[in-house]
């Protein structure tokens, strides 16, 4: 599944569609191919002993789905319960996982040539997670690599368990 994002990009003839959202003050985008649904349902149950990157779990039509805390993953300070919070449910290689974002903004269509590779000026965010960045309406949108997102959480869970 590692190359899915690449495939999605090339087949769409150099056009990528991104779901953009914000975590704290930073705008992020993620390839629409990974987004299964956006869910206002926020009855998150805490999981004792879990990695701090995991916010908890929710009931997604009978399945228990893990919900990530992007603040912890991206190292962005958390606001106190923003009202536009959404659960962005991703489907990454058949695995469903939620990301509790502060706000879902828009769907953005960008050309491949608009993207710039991992610029040095995004400091706080773990560089492994960044696919590219794009400038839109004077704002920098950080495009996240969904697969890497899972890897980072996985590693943190492993260290937690060890």
């Amino acid at each position: 599944m590692n190359n899915t994002s690449n495939e999605a990009a090339t087949t769409a003839q150099d056009v990528r569609q991104l779901v953009t959202f914000s975590v704290g003050d930073t705008a992020f985008g993620i390839d629409i191919a990974f987004v299964q649904e956006i869910n206002p349902h926020l009855d998150v149950t805490k999981v004792p002993g879990a990695s701090p990157m995991i916010h908890g779990v929710v009931n997604l039509r009978g399945d228990v789905v893990t919900v990530l805390d992007p603040h912890r993953i991206l190292r962005i300070a958390a606001d106190t319960a923003p009202k536009d919070r959404r659960n962005l449910v991703l489907n990454i290689g058949g695995e469903r996982i939620g990301v509790l974002v502060d706000k879902v903004s828009d769907i953005l269509t960008v050309n491949q040539d608009e993207l710039s590779q991992k610029p040095a000026n995004v400091r706080s965010v773990d560089r492994r997670l960044i696919d590219a960045v794009v400038l839109r309406n004077e704002q920098l949108v950080v495009i996240l690599n969904a697969t890497k997102l899972l890897e980072v959480v996985e590693q943190s869970s492993e260290t937690e368990a060890a």
Binding site: D43, K46, V47, V57, D63, T66
Partner: protein
């Protein structure tokens, strides 16, 4: 359909064909000369199908082995070869070989099976002079007839799947047929047609054989359709047939009913379909969601119940449908335990041969159904246990004869439902286990100290075999005795929520009992709340709920660790919220909840009991277990998650995980920690520790804890009757039992499954008092009234928890129930005592009366006073009157110790025996008393000891 797909289908189909063969071959062996043609035909056909398809797919090795096995079976069917242990052994080997080849299908052609083929050929040759070619031809011709026969004996066909592509065509064309009869006729025609086609082909290569084979499967499948058409009939006849009898006796369920009285040997009589587990899981999920929607609807309806009653009916309907749907879907996961049991005849057969023992296997309850996952999980532990029974349990034939037992040992496998669970018993009539030897081994292996081993009950000693590293076989055989098995067995069984225990009697055999849940998918649980979050706690872990009612005094501290005092045991206490560490800063509202009020759930993990402190116990609910995502799968505290009625996810707590997380060690095991005089307990005036119990809703009793040796909880069935008395098998002996209602009038007696037996000693006899309900042990002020309610066996009456409670006089009680024990004590000293005068100082009117009465009954002269000062006044006034001073320790005005000092200081009373009375003998006050000059300490309610002490101390000072 490509090759791999074909191959996969072949593998699955071959597995099915070969699945039942072992059993059938064993039956053929058992029947010997009386060859059951249908049975042999079944096996023959199965092997033939495998052979045909293997040839078609170019699986030469499988084809060759199957071919030879088929030839041998053909001989058997023609009655030219009588099955005996030798040739059946070869046939079994052939079947084993085929199964192995099929399991590793990719490498099957590279295997070398010539040895086996030669063996099979030898069996074939040994029985007949026919040339192989001839017999082969014969076999094939037979096969044709056979196919026809199978039509007539429609249901004898083994249950195959309707999935098979080649067969699907045939089956489809017949699917409109609604009765077995029409199906059969049509199939017959088809067979006849195909036979003509197939006939010339048989001289040709294997491919042609495959087509013949397809005819046969078409027949089988069509037959299957027929069988499915009458599933009800199948089920009825199946349920009627006694499960313990050989499958061969089973009447086949089929539409033609009585006109086909043929015996059939299909162990899978019911038509089955193959459904992917994933599909089933999805169905389960949906059904769960449906239940949820129903719950929401019901709640919504409840909230606005005023409007319209029509909706009620709809809701009722929905309720019923969902419940049924869920049950039905659950059933799809159920499999008969027979799927596991069926392999044991072979296991036993091979074991008896290799161990030189004669073992007979009995099976019962093959059709008991449990969840697929459990059937799979139980297979290995069960095999291990059965092997153990054969290896360690059953003795060698000569030993058995010497022990006057039949040479043939019996191992019995039983499965049955009990109280919503499935119980599997493995019973052997072998040598049984010797508890004392097990104790020795446990000590020798350093698993237990000698003292600890000594304290084990026989039952516990026997269950030591489940401890890691325990092996009792004197020599390690290839069957068992490596000592790794039994603890793995127990772990495996406990992992699926089951339990295992052993009962054994030396010389007459052992019974291993495995208790399993019916399903793993639905777990009855208690929903508890901790820090305003809800958690599920599986009921299999829960021993009991303990109400503290805010009386935190039941919780004590021992070296910083909290313990719960429960009926004389100290149980480690774990505060769940501290363990989960989930009080986070984001939800400040939760901080306010007062931690003082909590409810306690006593749980058991492994063999360890501990109490979990939760904020509240909310409800009991049957929860559907949902797996957690892979990022969360290894969390030690959790056993998974579930979705509650309101749609929120709740975590399932894992008692074992919590126990290991807080590092509860086995020295904190509750069982042996009977508390005697716990630290920090101050003896105060008239506060007695009482065991509170009730016999029925209106009859409450109390017993002074001071005279109780211990309390046991036993199943009601464990109580036996010997003559008119009841007894309990207990620690290797029998414990005589007394029931309250035998001696004291009561209104009604509760029937309970478990009773508590309160054990105490009277004149050297250990006696147990049966108490149906035991609800508390606590310190109570004894505000007992006067004698008005006095009856034999009752010392007084008090109001505890607003309930009139009778304080039982265990000695009086026993005297009524077993007068013979007291006869020797009664008369002999009566005369002496009349001259003995005792001064009693006791502030509690209750105890003063109790003591006076008791001593007077024993023949003593008694003068009693309510405190030391009054007693002293009387004593110094009549210096020669008293022979003994019996004084309470804690008294107003002048307490027992001061009184003793004063008495001893006075030269007149230097030799006056002084016995001090106390409710709880605590070391410090005993020491204080001894220093002051007390001769002896006695517990107030312990009549025999007290009397003995009085006798001892007065005997020397006779006037």
């Amino acid at each position: 359909m490509d090759d791999t797909e074909l191959l996969n289908e072949f593998v699955e189909e071959a597995r099915e064909h070969l699945g039942g063969i072992e059993m059938q071959l064993l039956q053929i062996e058992a029947m010997g000369e009386l060859i059951d043609d249908d049975l042999v035909n079944n096996v023959f056909r199965a092997i033939h199908s495998v052979k045909g398809a293997a040839g078609f797919l170019g699986l030469t090795q499988i084809n060759q082995v199957a071919h030879r096995l088929e030839n041998v079976l053909g001989k058997v069917r023609d009655h030219q070869l009588i099955p005996d242990p030798f040739n059946v052994d070869v046939m079994l080997k052939g079947a084993d070989c085929l199964r192995n080849l099929i399991e590793s299908i990719d490498t099957s052609n590279e295997t070398d099976n010539t040895a086996l083929c030669e063996q099979l050929d030898a069996v074939l040759a040994g029985s007949s002079t026919d040339e192989t070619v001839n017999s082969d031809k014969a076999a094939q011709t037979e096969q044709m007839v056979d196919a026809e026969e199978s039509c007539e004996a429609a249901p004898t066909a083994t249950a195959t799947k309707t999935r098979k592509t080649r067969a699907r065509k045939a089956a489809n064309s017949k699917s409109s047929a609604t009765t077995t009869k029409t199906t059969t006729t049509k199939t017959k025609t088809a067979t006849a047609k195909r036979r003509r086609k197939a006939a010339p082909a048989k001289k040709q290569a294997a491919q042609a054989e495959a087509s013949l084979e397809s005819v046969e499967s078409a027949v089988n499948d069509a037959v299957n359709v027929g069988t499915t058409a009458k599933p009800a009939a199948t089920e009825t006849s199946k349920s009627k047939s006694p499960p313990s009898k050989p499958a061969a006796k089973k009447a086949p369920g089929n539409g033609n009913g009585p006109d086909s009285p043929k015996k059939t040997t299909s162990p899978q009589a019911e038509a089955t379909i193959r459904v992917g587990v994933r599909v089933l899981d999805r169905l389960m999920n949906l059904a769960g969601e449906l239940v949820l929607s129903r719950n929401q609807l019901l709640r919504a309806l409840n909230e606005q119940s005023r409007s319209g009653t029509n909706l009620d009916a709809i809701a009722n309907g929905l309720d019923q449908v969902t419940t049924e749907l869920q049950t039905t879907i659950m059933q799809t996961r159920m499999q008969p335990i027979g799927n596991v049991f069926n392999k044991f005849p072979r296991v036993i057969r091979d074991l008896s041969a290799s161990l030189n023992k004669q073992i007979n296997l009995k099976m019962e309850g093959n059709d008991v159904e449990v969840d697929k996952t459990i059937v799979e999980a139980i297979a290995d532990p069960l095999t291990h246990l059965v092997r153990n029974s054969c290896d360690h349990g059953i003795e060698l034939p000569q030993d058995r004869i010497d022990a006057q037992k039949p040479a043939v040992g019996t191992v019995e496998l039983r499965a049955f439902h009990q109280a919503g669970k499935v119980v599997i018993e493995i019973v052997d009539d072998g040598g049984g286990m010797d508890p004392s030897r097990l104790r020795e081994i446990a000590v020798a292996k350093g698993m237990l100290s000698a003292e600890a081993a000594e304290q084990l009950t026989d039952r516990d000693a026997i269950n030591q075999i489940f401890a890691p590293g325990f092996s009792t076989a004197k020599e390690v055989s290839n069957v068992s005795g490596r000592g790794v098995g039994m603890d793995v067995v127990r772990t495996n069984i406990e992992q699926i929520g089951g339990a295992v225990e052993i009962e054994s009697e030396l010389g007459s055999g052992s019974t291993i009992r495995i208790t399993l849940p019916l399903t793993l998918a639905i777990v009855p649980s208690m929903i508890v709340s901790v820090d305003n979050r809800r958690y599920a706690l599986p009921q299999t872990n829960i021993v009991e709920l303990v109400q503290t009612d805010g009386r935190e005094k039941r919780i004590e501290r021992v070296n910083q660790a909290e313990v719960l005092r429960l009926r004389g045991n100290l149980i480690p206490l774990v505060r769940v919220s501290d363990t989960l560490k989930l009080i986070d800063e984001t939800d400040p509202s939760e901080e306010g909840s007062s931690k003082q009020e909590c409810q306690l759930v006593v749980v058991e993990a492994g063999r360890r009991q501990f109490a979990l402190a939760v904020d509240r116990v909310l409800d009991s609910e049957e929860i559907v277990v949902k797996p957690l995502g892979r990022h969360l799968s290894n969390l030690p505290l959790l056993a998974g998650s579930t979705i509650l009625g309101d749609g929120r996810v709740a975590m399932i707590l894992d008692a074992a995980g919590i126990s290991s997380q807080v590092k509860l060690t086995s020295d904190s095991e509750s069982s042996e920690q009977t508390e005697t005089s716990s630290a920090g307990e101050k003896t105060t005036t008239d506060v007695q520790r009482l065991v509170l119990l009730s016999v029925g809703p209106e009859d409450h009793f109390a017993i002074s804890m001071d005279i109780v040796s211990r309390i046991e909880r036993v199943a009601h069935e464990a109580i036996e009757r010997v003559g008119k008395h009841r007894v309990l098998q207990y620690r290797g002996g029998t414990l005589p039992l007394v029931s309250v209602d035998e001696v004291v009038p009561v209104n009604s007696v509760d029937e309970t499954k478990f009773v508590h037996v309160i054990v105490f000693k009277v004149y050297g006899h250990e006696v147990g008092l049966i108490a149906p309900n035991l609800y508390d042990i606590r310190k109570c002020d004894l505000l007992f009234g006067d004698d008005t309610c006095r009856a034999d066996g009752v010392a007084g009456i008090a109001v505890i928890d607003e309930r009139p409670t009778r304080l039982l006089d265990l000695y009086g009680l026993t005297q009524i129930a077993r007068p013979e024990w007291f006869s020797s004590h009664a008369e002999d000293q009566q005369a002496k005592r009349e001259n003995t005068s005792i001064l009693v100082c006791e502030d509690s009117p209750f105890f003063r009366n109790f003591l006076s009465r008791m001593l007077q009954e024993e023949g003593y002269q008694v003068s009693s006073f309510e405190h030391g000062e009054a007693g002293w006044a009387s004593l110094s006034e009549h210096p020669g009157k008293y022979d003994l001073l019996l004084t309470d320790v804690e008294m107003p005005e002048l307490d027992g110790v001061e009184l003793t000092r004063r008495v001893r200081a006075d030269g007149r009373f230097e030799t006056l025996p002084i016995i001090a009375l106390t409710s709880l003998a605590d070391e410090e006050s005993v020491q204080r008393g001894r220093e002051a000059g007390v001769d002896d300490y006695q517990v107030k309610m312990n009549k025999p000891d007290l009397l003995a002490s009085i006798t001892k101390h007065t005997s020397g000072v006779q006037k």
